[in-house]
């Protein structure tokens, strides 16, 4: 469970102090998938890094599983907008990087790395170099790297934002499958996106942020049934929710 309590963030830029986030409070329950939506520059990526303990908040408190965040938190998987794979390593070695950086024996994770790669359709590409893969495939590999150590918390920063619409829809479905929709051992996921349909399709709740300084404009529950499928996007409820979030965003601007 993640608790944010009055989180604010001000940073120093050449033009003076910039307030990026202002008194953000919400919580993410264990096993919940929460999407953060907001216009670009609203500080949603910064907020994700504050949760991960990669950047300090200027004001307020963040706690993950009851412990205050003071530095990089353990047992978290991160996926960024760019796949950031090491271009000199084969795909499976890139996935195993997670174990190596964490100081674990990568040999013990090799079987699991291959299993994850098969799960996302990269079974035949384990021994390729990243440049031999398409953007969508590279991002799948990055997802496998984030999942390798089976972290209970996954932080995703516009992970599919750079992909074409079809690949993005495909990867949304894959993410939900990997997440274990319907199972009891779901991971907690915080998913930053600027796509409203993506947020609605994935999330249990959508946190809508205002333009800078980012504040919580609304928290919209998404009661669409799971598992969500291709048909979900065509349902009237889906459209209504998307419209509601759109209006919140417009109202906040």
């Amino acid at each position: 469970m993640i608790v944010l309590d009055g989180v604010g963030m001000t940073y120093r830029a050449a033009s003076g102090e910039v307030e990026a986030l202002r008194s953000i409070s919400f919580r993410v329950e264990g096993g919940e998938l929460v999407a953060l939506v907001g216009p670009s520059g609203c500080g949603k990526s910064t907020l994700l890094r504050i949760i991960a303990g990669l950047r300090p908040a200027t004001t307020g408190r963040v706690a993950v599983d009851g412990r205050a965040v003071g530095g990089p938190i353990p047992a978290v998987g991160m996926v960024f907008q760019a796949p950031v794979l090491l271009k000199w390593r084969r795909v499976v070695e890139n996935v195993l990087l997670a174990a190596e950086l964490a100081g674990l024996d990568p040999g013990q994770f090799r079987a699991r790395a291959h299993e994850f790669l098969r799960l996302v359709g990269l079974g035949d590409f384990a021994d390729k170099l990243p440049r031999e893969l398409s953007g969508g495939m590279q991002q799948r590999a990055a997802l496998c790297r984030a999942l390798l150590l089976d972290p209970p918390l996954l932080l995703m920063d516009e992970p599919f934002g750079a992909l074409d619409a079809m690949t993005r829809d495909e990867l949304n479905l894959e993410l939900l499958r990997v997440w274990g929709e319907g199972s009891r051992t779901r991971k907690t996921i915080v998913f930053v996106t600027h796509s409203i349909p993506e947020a609605v399709f994935l999330a249990d709740r959508v946190v809508v942020l205002t333009p800078r300084p980012g504040r919580v404009a609304a928290i919209v529950p998404v009661p669409l049934p799971r598992p969500r499928t291709v048909e979900t996007r065509a349902s009237p409820d889906f459209g209504a929710l998307a419209l509601q979030i759109h209006q919140r965003l417009a109202g906040a601007a």
């Binding site: 890094r49 991960a52 990669l54 990089p72 353990p74 978290v76 998987g77 991160m78 960024f80 760019a82 950031v84 090491l86 271009k87 000199w88 990087l97 997670a98 190596e100 950086l101 964490a102 100081g103 170099l129 440049r131 150590l149």
Partner: protein, 252 residues
């Protein structure tokens, strides 16, 4: 090598052949004396005239070039790592290195001679001095041009600094270092020859100086030819090493 690959070299080979032909035929027609511009046949004859101890000169010059190259490579990487390691080391080293690099290194050659006497060692040092700077810069750049997110990843997994250095920064720097070494390969040749010009008892640079004094121009040209073969071989070796060790890098 396939026929297709050979065909790629046809234009440059044809141009080379044409230039050789012009060089052989035209100067005599213009009554240019051989001591001013010897033809290619005279040059090749001089290069293969083994009453001149070519192998000894080639050996000495090659030794100086390789020594200078290796020293520039190792020293350059070490300094580059030091610069990239922390703000403090960078602030301490960079101004110093800039001063050293702006010195006309050729002018330092007589000093090395004064300090170290005749022989291979001062020429190795000059070769290294001329060639090391690009390696420093490229190493430092290669070590620091890392996606911010990769570094975040290191922190997320709690990796210590040395581990991020070994697993991410160093391999990232490899193509940068190798491309700097191409420049160093050519610079080391210049350095070794300059050193031999200033003072030496052997080496291809000395052959050129001696041949010039004796107006034995074909021998000077022949020495130039041998130098160029050494330089091309070293350059080619670095190119091969790049393809071997850093196949992910863009080839240039």
């Amino acid at each position: 090598m396939t026929v297709g690959a050979l065909r790629r070299y046809v234009p440059s080979l044809a141009l080379f052949g044409a230039l050789l032909l012009i060089w052989q035929v035209v100067p005599p027609l213009l009554r240019i004396r051989e001591y001013l511009l010897p033809g290619p046949i005279a040059v090749v004859r001089a290069a293969l005239n083994f009453s001149i101890p070519w192998h000894a000169h080639i050996w000495i010059t090659t030794l100086e070039i390789l020594g200078g190259f290796a020293l520039a490579g190792l020293g350059g990487v070490a300094l580059g790592v030091a610069i990239a390691w922390s703000e403090t080391t960078a602030r301490a080293l960079v101004p110093f290195l800039v001063v050293v690099n702006t010195l006309p290194k050729v002018a330092v050659a007589p000093l090395f001679l004064l300090w170290l006497g005749y022989g291979v060692v001062p020429n190795v040092l000059i070769a290294a001095l001329i060639g090391f700077f690009p390696v420093v810069i490229n190493t430092a750049v290669g070590l620091t041009q890392i996606d911010e997110e990769l570094l975040d990843l290191g922190r997320v997994f709690g990796a210590p600094k040395w581990k991020v250095f070994v697993k991410i920064r160093l391999p990232n720097a490899l193509p940068y270092v190798l491309s700097a070494l191409k420049i160093t390969a050519t610079a080391a040749v210049v350095g070794a020859i300059v050193g031999e010009f200033v003072a030496s008892q052997a080496g291809l640079g000395m052959v050129i100086v001696t041949a010039q004094t004796n107006l034995n121009t074909p021998v000077a040209f022949a020495a130039l030819g041998w130098i160029s073969i050494i330089g091309l071989t070293l350059y080619g070796a670095v190119g091969l090493a790049t393809r071997w060790w850093a196949p992910w890098a863009d080839t240039t």
